[in-house]
Structure formats: C-alpha cells, structure tokens
C-alpha cells in the first residue's frame, strides 16, 4: 500500500518569486525548516526540526536534489528515520510551478509513504503541507517586496 500527497495552490505572485521561496535556503527556512539546500542536482542536504523520538524521527530530513528545471520544477528525495543511518520514510517531493492568471499555480507531489509504518508520517506530512503553505508561505510572500516587476 502506498499513499501519495498531492496539493495545488494559487498565488498572486510571479513564478520567479515562488521559485525563490522554494530554492533560497534563508527564505525556505522562514516557512518550512532550517536547511542547507542548494538548487544543484546531486546536492545532499538536510532539513532540521525538533525530533519526535517516540515516533522514530530524529529531527532531520535527509535529502538529495534529483531534478532542477529553473522556474518550472524541483524534485528532491525526502528521507527520515530514527537516526543511526536507519531510514524509515523514503519519499520524493516534487514542486511544479505554472504561470497562471498573473500569478502562479504551485503543485506539490510527495510520494512514497509505503506501508503501515509510514501512515503517521503520511498523516502528519499531509496536514503539515496543507496548513503550512497557505499560512506560512503565502503570508510571507504577501508581506515581501516583489522580486520582479512586470
């Protein structure tokens, strides 16, 4: 059994701005998690947050950039586990940006929640993405100066 997460949002901001918030570590940290991301295929990086030891999560998401198409799409692996090199969640996140109605449609696909041991991870991640993006990312971009002028 595999569950996938798929959500789409519309922002009134241009793709250039949404792309910056997905790919600049300091901006990404403001709405998602602290990280050492670089938009370079093959770059290994981590997101850091508080561990949930009892749930088998060591507070780090182990990632590798798999694909970068500037302003269009971004894919990275998203792995997590209890530490000591053990991986329980082995998933892939893909962001797709499409210019639409003077703004951007952002599609998130998060795939690979396999088996019963990842049901909780699926549940938390699904809720996390669903609430974080409108509440944090949209709010930040609303408050920010536009990065490009039309």
């Amino acid at each position: 059994m595999q569950r996938d997460i798929k959500h789409a949002w519309f922002f009134k901001h241009p793709v250039e701005m949404v792309w910056e918030y997905l790919t600049k570590p300091d901006l990404l940290a403001q709405w998602l998690m602290v990280n050492d991301f670089e938009p370079v295929v093959g770059h290994k990086f981590m997101f850091g947050t508080k561990p949930k030891i009892k749930l088998g999560f060591d507070g780090r998401v182990y990632c590798e950039v798999l694909e970068v198409v500037p302003l269009k799409s971004l894919t990275y692996s998203w792995k997590g586990g209890p530490g000591d090199g053990k991986i329980r969640l082995d998933s892939v996140v893909t962001w797709t940006l499409t210019p639409k109605d003077n703004g951007t449609e952002l599609l998130l696909e998060h795939k690979g929640f396999k088996g019963i041991e990842n049901y909780l991870a699926y549940f938390f991640m699904n809720e996390g993405w669903r609430t974080k993006i409108p509440r944090q990312l949209a709010k930040l971009m609303d408050l920010a100066e536009p990065v490009t002028q039309n």
């Binding site: 940290a29 998690m33 602290v34 050492d36 981590m46 850091g48 947050t49 508080k50 561990p51 030891i53 060591d58 507070g59 780090r60 530490g83 000591d84």
Partner: protein, 132 residues
C-alpha cells in the same frame, strides 16, 4: 594498559530536563535509563556515531555538587563534539533554541563554534578537517 575512555560524568539538576535537552535539542541518544533501588537512576547518553563512549548524568544531590552544575570545567570548553558539518548543525541547533557564542569560524584544524548546554557547560562543536 588503559586504552579507551568509558563514560564522563555530567552533573545535572534534573534527569528529565537534561535528557530533554541532550536528545531533543542536540542529537544524543539514550543509552540506558534504569532505576536502581528507590533513589538511584543510571542515565547515560551517547553520540549517534559512537556506541562505546557515553555521558553519565549524575544528580546534584549535595550543596557541593549543586554549585558545580554547569561549571565542571569553569568557563572553559568541557568537551569537544565532532560533526561532519559545523555550519549546518549550528543553524539546526540554533533553530532548536541552543545558545551559541558567536558563529562558526574556520580554523587551521577545522570549523568550530562554542555553545552551552542548559546549565552553562560549554561545548565546542567542530568539524575536524586537519588530517596531518
């Protein structure tokens, strides 16, 4: 001959608050947490990449021990802690609320920065690059 370090003692005011700091803010794992009798609790933690060296928490149950909580090495670094990426972990631990003294600095032997634990014990977080 003596050929290995076993455990190092860390005086704590409370086992649970110390465990919370070392496992939830840093990345230590609990090696053992056992009650022995009614009063004694054997609590040790270790770094993830090193199974055979641990920190043993000892409850400060006398005035003398209480005075030394957080200053076992005065204001000097008590232990150096090695990482594969000092800058990244500085950001991660800072985001979890760990108090640092300044920012990571590149030195001839590696990149390092000093932080303190919940009691004020100082630790050097270091990515050793010196292989001479």
């Amino acid at each position: 001959m003596i050929n290995k370090l076993g455990h190092v003692t860390l005086l704590v005011n409370d086992y649970d608050e110390a465990l919370d700091f070392y496992t939830n803010k840093l990345d230590f794992v609990v090696e053992s947490d056992q009650k022995m009798g009614d009063t004694f609790r054997w609590v040790t933690i270790r770094a993830k990449g090193q199974p055979d060296f641990g920190i043993t928490f000892v409850l400060a149950d006398t005035e003398e021990k209480k005075q030394r909580v957080g200053s076992q090495a005065a204001n000097h670094v008590f232990l150096t802690l090695q990482t594969d990426n000092c800058e990244r972990d500085y950001e991660f631990y800072k985001a979890r609320g760990v108090k640092f003294f300044g920012e990571p600095k590149k030195m001839p032997w590696g990149t390092e920065v000093v932080f303190e634990d919940l009691y004020g014990n100082r630790f050097d977080l270091i990515n050793v690059t010196w292989n001479g």
